[in-house]
């Protein structure tokens, strides 16, 4: 399972970077979203993937039996997803307002504050 997910993470990063390099600001947002999903998936996979072994002590037992899925990356990735969600919403609103102010969706038109 892990190699498959690793491949998927790679594809997400590649697609994200490709979108970032396009000239439209909407594709910029799509690129940022894809890359951040790739990173979320990376954190999720980092704890190791185990199907059907939740980190719960079974009835009657007193200790957790050895192979169990690590719950911490899932908690972390939830935090990261929520943060990413909020930031994406803000980024969309910002792109919308910037598009109104500049009047173009080509990144090359956004060079007034540059050097």
């Amino acid at each position: 399972m892990e190699p498959l997910i690793a491949l998927l993470i790679g594809v997400l990063f590649a697609a994200g970077i490709y979108s970032l390099l396009r000239r439209s600001i909407v594709k910029l947002v799509i690129g940022v979203v894809l890359i951040s999903q790739g990173a979320n998936l990376l954190v999720f996979t980092s704890g190791g993937l185990l199907a059907g072994r939740p980190a719960l002590v079974e009835a009657g037992a007193t200790v957790l039996e050895a192979p169990f899925g690590d719950p911490l990356p899932q908690a972390m990735v939830l935090t990261a997803i929520v943060i990413g969600f909020g930031l994406t919403a803000f980024l969309l609103a910002l792109v919308c307002r910037a598009h109104e102010a500049v009047g173009d969706d080509d990144i090359n038109a956004f060079d007034n504050t540059d050097t």
């Binding site: 990376l42 980092s46 307002r97």
Partner: protein, 504 residues
């Protein structure tokens, strides 16, 4: 009891945010609350600084979960001095904002957001957990995103977009790096990661996440070649916002770099030393050349942030006790001076309606006091004795000479000269030359009395002079802080309950 000193610089701004949101209607409440809570945070940070200087380390385990499992708050001397000086800037700029931030921005919750920014910055300095550091970065960034773009002017939105996108990318890399290191060590506690790497015979497997974090923190710190968002955005918002960004945000990135290579990835430092050294040199040189080519006061100052970051990273790359002490001294000096320069540029805009050097002039005659107030931080930045910048540069160069890093020393001195060149450019254009006649200089309607803008500038200028003339206590403190940074084992044993036994 003194552990609770750790909580205050985080809790006070948070309480302030909640109370200010409750009193949202009244602008007077917003103003008074913003100043009150940022000043209280400063007071708390001073208490923390004294407590840490006595106790060496203050550690608090959140929810009483023992160290590698819960989230630790840790303050050593380095983080305590960073909290103190950034809360100092928070209080000073809070007062300045009274007279610069207009009603529209106040109604969009300027002060609560400003306190969220201080909250995030202090949290980032005090946490001892890598993922928690990521969360503090995000708290700080989301507040800064809104502060940067809340005015809704074209420049702000454009600059804001660049700022937001590149910082999001940096966060993604941070997250990926933290995820990979968690997968390999099974912990996110900085002390625990550091210990596992030190005990490992060969720590090369941590190189990938260390590089991801290096790029991420380098991006946030504005290092070469990741600094492009900084000069493209910092000159767009009101000066109070630029000033607090210039003073604090990039320094959090520098702090994180220091923490990474003196604690988390300490055993990997030899592998990155040369990379850091050359990145630092290139950061200094490109930053100062960018500044030399510009003709707008705030753009020049933005590029100078980049070039000065190079000096601090250079101190990290040397990694001798003197170099680290010099870098810490440099950070303190730089935060005060750079914030102050942006505040001065705000007063220039208030008087002349612009800080484009082609449009302003004659300030030496019309406002000689402002010329004096600009002179102190500007020439401190350039490294003129006896101001604080001279001692910072002197110690750094001395530490470079001691380890025969001739190239780095040569570039550091050269960049110092070029810094002086662009400061004299501002001086000659804005202050000495006559006011150009055919230029419209009607300034915008001022928001509040000038005294609230000038008072913080005076206080910060006095601090610069005091550090210059009586800098010895601060330098000795920096040396003690540097000694702590070079001894990660004591940090680890202060944080972890029973060393070398816990390994899940």
């Amino acid at each position: 009891m003194s552990e609770y000193a750790l909580l205050l610089p985080i809790l006070i701004p948070l309480i302030g945010v909640v109370l200010l949101l409750l009193g949202a209607r009244s602008l007077a409440v917003q103003r008074a609350g913003g100043v009150l809570f940022s000043s209280l945070t400063f007071a708390a940070s001073l208490y923390l600084l004294f407590a840490v200087d006595q106790a060496d380390y203050l550690v608090m385990q959140m929810g009483a979960w023992e160290a590698p499992f819960g989230i630790s708050l840790v303050a050593d001397r380095f983080s305590a001095v960073m909290v103190a000086v950034s809360s100092f800037m928070g209080a000073a700029v809070g007062i300045y904002a009274l007279s610069e931030i207009d009603e529209a921005r106040l109604k969009k919750f300027f002060f609560p957001l400003y306190l969220v920014l201080i909250f995030g910055v202090n949290g980032a300095f005090l946490t001892g957990d890598l993922f928690n550091l990521y969360v503090w970065f995000e708290v700080m960034l989301i507040a800064s995103f809104v502060l940067m773009s809340m005015g809704g002017e074209k420049g702000e939105l454009e600059g804001g977009l660049k700022y937001v996108c590149l910082n999001l990318l940096s966060s993604v890399m941070f997250l990926a790096g933290a995820g990979i290191i968690y997968g390999k060590t099974g912990t996110l506690n900085m002390a625990d990661i550091g210990q596992q790497l030190m005990l490992a015979e060969n720590a090369d497997w941590a190189l990938s996440s260390s590089m991801l974090l290096l790029v991420s923190f380098g991006l946030k710190a504005g290092m070469f070649p990741f600094f492009f968002w900084l000069p493209a955005s910092y000159h767009t918002p009101p000066s109070a916002v630029s000033a607090v960004f210039a003073g604090l945000l990039t320094k959090v990135g520098v702090y994180a770099l220091f923490r990474s290579y003196t604690l988390i990835f300490m055993p990997l430092f030899p592998e990155v030393q040369n990379i850091l050294l050359w990145l630092a040199i290139l950061t200094m040189v490109t930053g100062v050349l960018g500044a030399a080519s510009h003709f707008d006061m705030r753009r020049i100052l933005s590029f100078h942030i980049v070039s000065q970051i190079g000096y601090m990273v250079l101190g990290l790359a040397f990694m001798t006790p003197l170099a680290l002490a010099a870098a810490i001294f440099y950070l303190v000096h730089h935060i005060i001076v750079k914030t102050n320069l942006f505040l001065v540029s705000g007063v220039v805009i208030r008087m002349k309606g612009s800080c484009d050097l082609a449009k302003v002039g004659g300030l030496c005659n019309s406002a000689p006091w402002l010329a004096a107030l600009f002179f102190i931080p500007a020439f401190s930045l350039g490294g003129i004795p006896p101001l604080s910048g001279f001692w910072a540069k002197f110690a750094l160069v001395k530490s470079g000479v001691e380890i025969h890093a001739w190239w780095a020393v040569t570039f550091a001195l050269l960049v110092g000269v070029l810094t002086l060149y662009s400061m004299t450019k501002i001086w000659a254009e804005a202050f000495w030359k006559k006011q150009p006649e055919d230029v419209d200089t009607t300034p915008a309607k001022p928001v509040g009395p000038l005294v609230f803008m000038v008072a913080p500038i005076v206080v910060l200028s006095i601090s610069t002079v005091v550090i210059g003339f009586f800098g010895e206590p601060l330098f000795e403190f920096s040396e003690r802080a540097a000694a702590q940074l070079l001894d990660p084992q004591s940090y680890i044993s202060a944080v972890l309950p029973q060393p070398a036994e816990v390994s899940p």
